[in-house]
Symmetry: D3
Subunit: 131 residues, 6 copies
C-alpha cells in the first residue's frame, strides 16, 4: 500500500480517461501522454478538470505560448518541483527555448527568491508610486 | 527599536550609497529610486552587491527585458511578496505589459502552484522522455 | 560523513529511546516503529518532545482521529514532503480513509494552493464580514 | 497605477460576471459575494474557471462539506494566506466548525510544519511498509 | 466574527494561563509577555505545549543563546513571518546582536534562498564526499 | 534531453570557468570543487556572480564563519533542499559544528516553522515594544 499511484496506460484506461488522453494528444499534436496525466487518471474528474484548466490557461492569448511555458517553468523551479521542471522545460524547449534562455530564466528565479526574502524581512514600505 | 529600517533618502546618503543610487537612476533612465534600495542602503555592501546582480541578470540577453520582468513578477507572485509584486509589475507595465498579459500571468502562477502540489503529492515518476 | 542519520533499531537503542519506542507502539497498538522516530532517536530530547507533541495533538478531541490525520496529510502534501505524505496517508488509511477521500483531499490541496496565490498576488482586501 | 485591483460590485459588472456572481449566491444560499470573486472579476475567464473548480471540488462527495472546508483552512494557514484563512474559516464556522475544532486544526498545521522540516532535513528513508 | 483572536491580558487570564505567563516572565527575567502568547492563550493546552517546547529548545546547550536566536530569526526571515522577525530580532538584540550582525544574517538568508532554488532547479547530484 | 545538467570537470572547463574553480579552491584551501559549481559552470556569468556573492557574504565579518555556516544550513533545512543541507552541513562540520549543535539547530528549524505558521494563522498583532 503506497502513496504513489501507478500511471494508467491508454490500453488500461476507461473511455472517460481515454477521451482526455485523446484530447491531450490532439491539442499537443503528439502521440504520447506524460505520466502526470496517467497518474491523475486514478481520479477522472480531477484529470478532466485539470486538463481543462491547462488547456485554457496555456492556450495562445495576450502572451505567446513560449512565454507562458517559461512562466510555468519559473514557478515550478521556484517551488523546487523536479518533475514539473523536467516536463515544462521539455515543453519550453519544444516551443523554442534555448539553453541560454533557460540559464537566464534560472538566474531570475534565483535572484527573485533572494530579493523577495530581503524585502519581506526588511518589511519595505510600498512606494507611493506603486499604490 | 524595530525590525523595520527607514528608507535613506539621497540627501542623507553616504557617497558610497549615492553612487549606487546614481547608477540605478542612470540605468533605469529615471530620476527616483524605490524604497527597496533605500532600505537596503543601511547595509552598503549588500546594496552594492544586490544592485550589481539585478543589473546583470535583468539586462537584455537571450530573453528580452519584458519577458525577464514577467518572470520576476511570476516568482514574486508565487512567493506572495506584496512589495515585490507591486514594484515588478510596475516595472513590467513600463516595459509594455498589458492588463490582459498580467491576468494571464497570474492564471499561470495559480495553476502552476496547483499542479506542482499534485505532482509532488502523487510522486509522479519522471518520464523516460524527460531524462 | 553524511547529512543522513541512520535509523536506530530497538535492539541498539538506549533505555531512554526504548521508552519512547515502547510508548509509540502502545499508543498506536502496533509492534513496529517507523523510520522518522528511529532517525530522531539520535537526539533523544527531541525524540521525546516531538513524540509528546504528536501524542497530544493527534489524540481524539473536538476533531476525530481520521479528520486530524487528513489535515496532517493535507499540510504534508501542500509542503511536498514525500516521506510525510507516505507515512500520514498510511496512517489515514488505517483510520479509514478511502481512495476516493484521498483523491478529494488532494484536489483541495491543489486548488487551495492555486487560490492562495491568486489572493496574495491580487492583494484582495478582507471583507468587513470577515473582520 | 497599482498592483491591487478594486472589487467590481454587482451593479457595475458585465452580464458574464453577473452570471457567475448569481451562481455563487445560489450555490451558497446567500445574498452576497466576497471580495475574492469581485477582484477576480477583472479577468472573467479566470473568474469562471476558478469558480467552476471551487464549485466542483468543494461539493459534497466522499468527504463531507465541513471536512473539506477544514482542509482548505489548514492549507491556507500553512501557506500564511491571511485573506484565505479569514474567508475559509468563516465558511467553516458556517458549516459548524467550533472554536475548539479550529484550535486543534491550527495545532496540527503548526506541528505538521515542524515535523515536515525535520523529516526533510534528516532525509528519512521511506519505510518498506509505506512503499 | 473574525479569524483574529484578541490577546488575553494577565488580569483576564485563567489560573492555568497565568501560570504559563508567570513562567515566561520568570524564565526571561522580564515583567511582560508578548502578544504571541496572549493570543495562543485562547487554547491553553497549545499555549502550555508550545511554551514548553520553546523553553526547552532555546535553553543554553551546545549552541549559545544568541546563536540560537539568530537561527530563529533566519528561519523566520526566510519564511517571511513579519511578527516572528520582529519578536525574535528584538530578542536577538537583547542577547547582543548588533546591526552589523543582523545585516550579515539577512544577506545569508537571501543568498541561501537563491542558491537553494538553483540547486533544486538544476537537480545537482550529491557529491560522494557528502554521502 | 534533460533538465539536469552534468557537472563540468576541471579538465573540460573553459579558462573562464577554471579561474572560478581555482578561486574556490584557493579560498577554501582545498583541492576539489563540489558539484554545485560544476553544474553552474554551464552558465559562466552566473557561476562567476554566485561565487562572488558567496565569497563576499560568507567571509568572516561581524559574524564568525561557523555561525554563518549554521545560518546557511538552517535556511536550507527550512527550505528542504537536500543537496544544500548535505553540502552546507559538511562545511559547518569542517568549521567545527558538533553533532549536538546540529541536533539543536534542527530542533530550532522545526520549532520556528511551527510557530511561524501559528503566528501567521492567528494574525498576531505586533507588540508596541517591537515597533
Amino acid at each position: 500500500m503506497s502513496a504513489r499511484r501507478e500511471p494508467i496506460e491508454y490500453a488500461d484506461a476507461s473511455p472517460e480517461v481515454r477521451a482526455v488522453y485523446d484530447d491531450i494528444m490532439a491539442t499537443r499534436k503528439t502521440d504520447w501522454v506524460n505520466n502526470f496525466w496517467k497518474v491523475l487518471a486514478h481520479d477522472p474528474p480531477t484529470l478532466r478538470r485539470i486538463w481543462g484548466s491547462i488547456k485554457e490557461v496555456m492556450a495562445p492569448g495576450a502572451l505567446d505560448p513560449l512565454t507562458k511555458e517559461l512562466l510555468y517553468v519559473a514557478v515550478s523551479a521556484s517551488n523546487s518541483c523536479r518533475y514539473c521542471i523536467a516536463s515544462h522545460s521539455a515543453a519550453a524547449r519544444r516551443k523554442g527555448m534555448t539553453e541560454a534562455q533557460y540559464s537566464e530564466l534560472l538566474a531570475i528565479v534565483g535572484l527573485a527568491n533572494e530579493t523577495n526574502r530581503l524585502v519581506s524581512a526588511l518589511d519595505v514600505p510600498v512606494d507611493e508610486a506603486f499604490l
